[in-house]
Amino acid sequence: MIECPSCGKKHRLGTLFCSECGVYLPSGKTLRTEPFPTDELSAPRAATWETEVPGNDREKAPPVIRVRIVDTGREIVLPALPELLLGRLDPTHGIFPHLDLGAERGLEMGVSRRHAKIVQREGKMYVEDVGSANGTFLNGQRLTPYLPYPLPREAELQLGRLRLHITVCTESQQP
């Protein structure tokens, strides 16, 4: 049996596409699903979303995320939360992103209301597209929806057509 890396459904060996979520199952040339490195995914995904950043490295200051809107130069500092939603504010549908890009011409630039998430797991940062209409690009690479990708300290993140420059830094590094 092989397991879909996106939704977890189990399929017969040799299955090419997940019947649940449509993800192409073989990665690379082989017919096997490549496992994630265990240090990146040590616990089941559902259990880790809501957990706090582990407290064993308390001496280190929690990181913050500095976001610069490339086109306007506007800079926003986001607090370090286990999960940050990037998108556009839509109170009627109960969508309250941590980073509301509505003011940055988000609608025009193809930013979905629920576009992407930056999540922290065991002190590491990941970015994940949450089913946006126009896609999320990390340093030019389109992200497969619902798959977390490691977020480097410095990265160019594009939501639809809106470009963001992301810097992950610890409090001590702040000016």
Partner: protein
């Protein structure tokens, strides 16, 4: 057009009667049913008429205009005869679709094409699809799959999902396929037999998957995912249907099908709010995902 509305049955009977007056074994008879509405209470009789017509060699195509016709029923009706149904969103499209239909009739190469699958204990067919042109799920009657007509210059692709049991090393037969068709030009029945045999080796061999197959499967997967949406809606699993539609939208966008993706997203929103899809959205997705096989 009253409450009891037997309009389709009456129209269908009148049309078939007209056709039967001129129908001979060596002629091509085709009825085009153009409708913009539903029929109530006479569905079974309509299907029976269609079955009879199919046995006589009369084909029926359905063109449904607008949002209010019952696509599932009329699709079934057309299939009884080996015909197809098409969704016409705007009346302006009627001419083009009609022209294409008639043109297709002039390209007829073979009729009543059937594929018979004979399985062994080593392999069985899990699913069968026509992958182009339009995608559809094919179900067998005792191992016989009806493919309808074969057109000159237009390939028909059929995809079998076959599960193969592990076997001891060596060559083993898996399946036998028999294709049978009537060739009108020569008024002759043709038969082709193909034995599917495979070599089993002790070590696993990972052969690359042909890109063409991956391409077909990517579209077929979306078609299968939308089948699940209808199933979820039919059984009242609203949240499941919504989630599936959203996933379909994502996949469609990945494939560059922005318009269809947009419809899927809109309908997912509609389900979230009211628990059901719009009739138009339903048809757009049903026929749109079928059309994914046309590229």
């Amino acid at each position: 057009m009253g409450q009891r509305g037997t309009e389709i049955l009456q129209g269908l009977r009148a049309g078939l009667e007209e056709i039967r007056r001129h129908h001979r074994k060596d002629t091509l008879s085709h009825l085009i049913l153009l409708t913009d509405g539903r029929t109530y209470g006479d569905e079974e009789q309509c299907l029976a008429e269609a079955r009879r017509a199919g046995l006589e060699g009369i084909e029926i195509s359905v063109l449904g205009i607008g949002e209010d016709w019952n696509d599932a029923f009329l699709d079934q009706l057309a299939r009884q005869t080996g015909g197809t149904s098409s969704y016409i969103a705007y009346p302006q499209q009627v001419r083009g679709v009609m022209r294409e239909l008639v043109q297709r009739l002039t390209m007829l190469l073979a009729r009543d094409v059937t594929l018979t699958v004979r399985t062994t204990e080593r392999a069985w067919v899990e699913n069968c699809f026509r992958s182009a042109p339009p995608i559809e799920r094919l179900t067998s009657e005792g191992g016989v799959y009806h493919l309808g007509n074969l057109l000159a210059g237009k390939a028909t692709q059929v995809l079998f999902e076959i599960v193969v049991r592990e076997s001891r090393p060596g060559f083993h037969p898996l399946l036998q396929l028999e294709m049978s068709a009537h060739i009108p030009t020569f008024n002759r029945q043709e038969r082709l037999i193909f034995d599917l045999e495979r070599e089993f080796v002790p070590e696993a061999v990972e052969e690359p998957v042909p890109p063409a197959l991956v391409n077909i499967l990517s579209r077929l997967t979306i078609f299968r995912m939308q089948e699940q949406v209808w199933k979820a809606l039919d059984t009242g699993q609203i949240e499941d249907a919504r989630r599936r539609l959203e996933t379909i939208a994502t996949r469609l966008l990945d494939m560059g099908e922005a318009e269809l993706a947009h419809v899927a997203l809109l309908e997912a929103g509609r389900i979230a709010q009211g628990g059901q899809m719009s009739s138009k959205g339903q048809k757009t997705i049903r026929y749109g995902t079928r059309g994914l096989g046309l590229r």
